[in-house]
């Protein structure tokens, strides 16, 4: 049975259970959803006014545009280089932003004590955590969309510039770029959820350090799995296996090489990664809500 089928069966069971028990949860959700949305909206509005985020987006746009100056490469190499470096920039800045946005999301509210006025109102703590997370997702989606749009613009412009050359083989591979960016966004979403979880139990600095470690480990999960299989000491094997299970498999979201090298894209593999990512995110957010519920603010 494939993971996709398992996901569909699981989804069906969840829908049936939710439908049968709607009288129990509908009133609570009726209250929770607007609260989550309001907190998400204010998180987005606050991020929009933070100059740091605007500066980072401008920086990435400049980096992407500056890549068009590599005119000495052949058109084919140029397209490969532009796609590879452009997607790398989007992923790197997406991850960096997710770390910094995620790490400050809840701790900033605690340190600036803005959380007092909110939690004194009819807002449950899990609504607050979910609202902050949803707000961060929207912010990161907009930033990654802008960066992707600029990369596509750059690729199309370059395509136009070199199309008159005699042996032009420039291929902007727009569909692949969009897919790879979307997958990067999914990785960012999973990582942000984990960062929110860590931030509910530790300080901002510890959260940032942990997030970088998780990112590094999550990006080489296949290697860790191989090491676990080869490890001779049982304790080491157990530790590596635990890391493999607990840390999200961010590597599964990386389609940069496939797209830049014009390899066939496994959309099913992407769906598999997304399904796992959604499951992982749900569990992590439930834990974050539980931890924040018990936290003294």
């Amino acid at each position: 049975m494939t993971p996709q089928l398992l996901f569909l069966i699981g989804l069906f069971i969840v829908v049936v259970v939710l439908t049968l028990t709607r009288k129990a949860w509908a009133p609570a959700m009726g209250h929770a959803l607007p609260s989550v949305w309001r907190i998400a909206k204010i998180t987005v509005a606050e991020a929009r006014r933070r100059r740091v985020l605007q500066a980072v987006v401008v920086l990435v746009v400049l980096i992407l545009v500056s890549m068009t100056f590599f005119a000495y490469l052949s058109p084919k190499e140029q397209s490969r280089m532009l796609i590879n470096n452009g997607l790398a920039a989007i992923t790197a800045f997406g991850i960096l932003l997710s770390i910094f946005v995620g790490a400050f999301l809840v701790p900033h509210e605690l340190e600036s004590r803005t959380v007092y006025a909110i939690l004194a109102k009819p807002v449950r703590r899990f609504e607050f955590v979910l609202g902050k997370y949803l707000g961060a997702l929207i912010v990161l989606a907009v930033i990654i969309a802008v960066m992707t749009a600029v990369l596509i613009g750059v690729l199309m412009l370059q395509d136009k510039l070199v199309s008159d050359l005699p042996d032009s083989a420039f291929d902007p591979n727009i569909r692949g770029v969009v897919f790879a960016s979307a997958m990067s966004y999914c990785a960012v979403a999973v990582l942000t959820a984990l960062i929110v979880l860590i931030s509910t139990i530790s300080s901002t600095t510890m959260t940032i350090i942990s997030a970088f470690i998780i990112w590094a480990v999550g990006s080489m999960q296949n290697t860790i799995n191989d090491l676990a299989s080869q490890a001779e000491i049982p304790a080491t094997r157990l530790l590596l296996k635990m890391i493999y299970v607990i840390v999200p498999k961010l590597q599964n979201f990386d389609y940069r090489n496939d797209v830049a090298n014009y390899l066939p894209i496994s959309y099913l593999g992407g769906l598999d990664a997304i399904v796992q990512g959604i499951g992982y995110t749900i569990v992590v957010l439930i834990l974050a809500s539980i931890f924040f519920n018990d936290r003294q603010v």
Partner: protein, 323 residues
């Protein structure tokens, strides 16, 4: 109007802060019993670190008690319907810095599920109430301390709360700001709101409150109306002009006179029968009587006496605390 209906009840509340470095913990609130009646303005006063803010945060469910219980409107604070009836002004007005007063009030009103039209009306009403209409678009970070406090009060009022919890509402304000804030609190009182106020500005407390609880080292060491706490006047004060030094010395030698200083004659209250004789002596000594008063002790006096264990109702508890 104050009724016997209890809006807030705290029973045996104890809060101990523990950490890795202080496993024994620091007792911030110690076995606190307190109740606030509907329509009453109750003030918790005490020096910094006496446990006032911890008490408020426990009432609001921001922190959790080590022991004891708190109920608001007879229910737990975790009941959302309770929080729909409460307004909270945090100390030092912690609101989002990048938003204007108008945006902030719209956001906080939205948390109560009000429609857009209702929110618009509320924002207008509240900005008018706190005198922030002209500065409605000013980002919170650019507001003066007084403006920030008034906006913070406005956000506490978005749901027209029955119980208003104010933590140091005049902290850091200049005299004009303090006057404005006191005026607003009095307006809320006039509208029949139950108010729980924490402050260490005793003058403002005296002006607005019906009952006072004095906290010291986490314990409630005295509680009652100002009249109850202050007791009966202990002195009669006669303000004079032109009193000759020799006559002042003669007056000071009387048993009834506690002291004469710069034309002000202080008599023991229990010697009230001798007032006429003292007034005649002042007259004979070339003095003119400007005013005769029987001042009650101020809250400041009560507070100092309470932490020394001299307020009768509190003496026993306070002496334990001071030891």
């Amino acid at each position: 109007m104050i009724t016997d209906d209890i809006v807030l009840r705290i029973e045996g509340l104890t809060k101990v802060y523990r950490s890795l470095f202080t496993p024994v913990g620091v007792k911030a609130v110690d076995n606190l019993d307190l109740s606030v009646r509907r329509g009453e303005t109750y003030s918790v006063v005490g020096p910094n670190g006496s446990g006032k803010t911890t008490t408020l945060k426990t009432i609001l469910g921001l922190i959790f008690p080590t022991a004891g219980s708190t109920t608001v409107f007879g229910r737990s604070i975790n009941d959302l319907s309770v929080r729909e009836r409460i307004g909270f002004l945090p100390e030092d007005a912690y609101l989002y810095e990048v938003f204007s007063g108008e945006e902030l009030l719209d956001f906080y009103a939205g948390l109560f599920g009000y429609s857009k039209q209702r929110r618009r009306e509320l924002v207008e009403e509240l900005l008018t109430l706190v005198g922030m209409q002209a500065n409605r678009k000013v980002p919170f970070r650019e507001c003066s301390k007084g403006m920030r406090q008034r906006l913070a009060l406005a956000q506490a009022l978005v749901n027209d709360p029955e119980l208003l919890i104010l933590d140091e509402p005049t902290s850091g304000l200049d005299p004009a700001g303090r006057h404005q804030m006191t005026r607003l609190i009095l307006e809320m009182k006039r509208r029949g709101k139950t108010i729980l106020l924490c402050s260490h500005f005793l003058a403002e407390v005296e002006e607005v409150c019906d009952r006072v609880g004095i906290m010291y080292q986490g314990r409630l060491i005295a509680e009652g109306s100002l009249r109850e706490l202050a007791g009966e006047p202990t002195e009669i004060v006669i303000t004079t002009t032109g009193l000759q030094p020799a006559a002042a010395e003669q007056l000071a030698a009387r048993d009834a006179v506690l002291g004469v200083d710069d034309g002000v004659v202080r008599m023991g209250h229990e010697y009230g029968d001798e007032l006429w004789s003292v007034l005649e002596a002042i007259h004979r000594g070339g003095g003119h009587v400007v005013e005769v008063t029987r001042p009650r002790p101020t809250l400041q006096d009560v507070f100092v006496r309470a932490i020394r264990g001299e307020v009768p109702a509190a003496a026993e508890q306070a002496s334990e605390v001071i030891e």
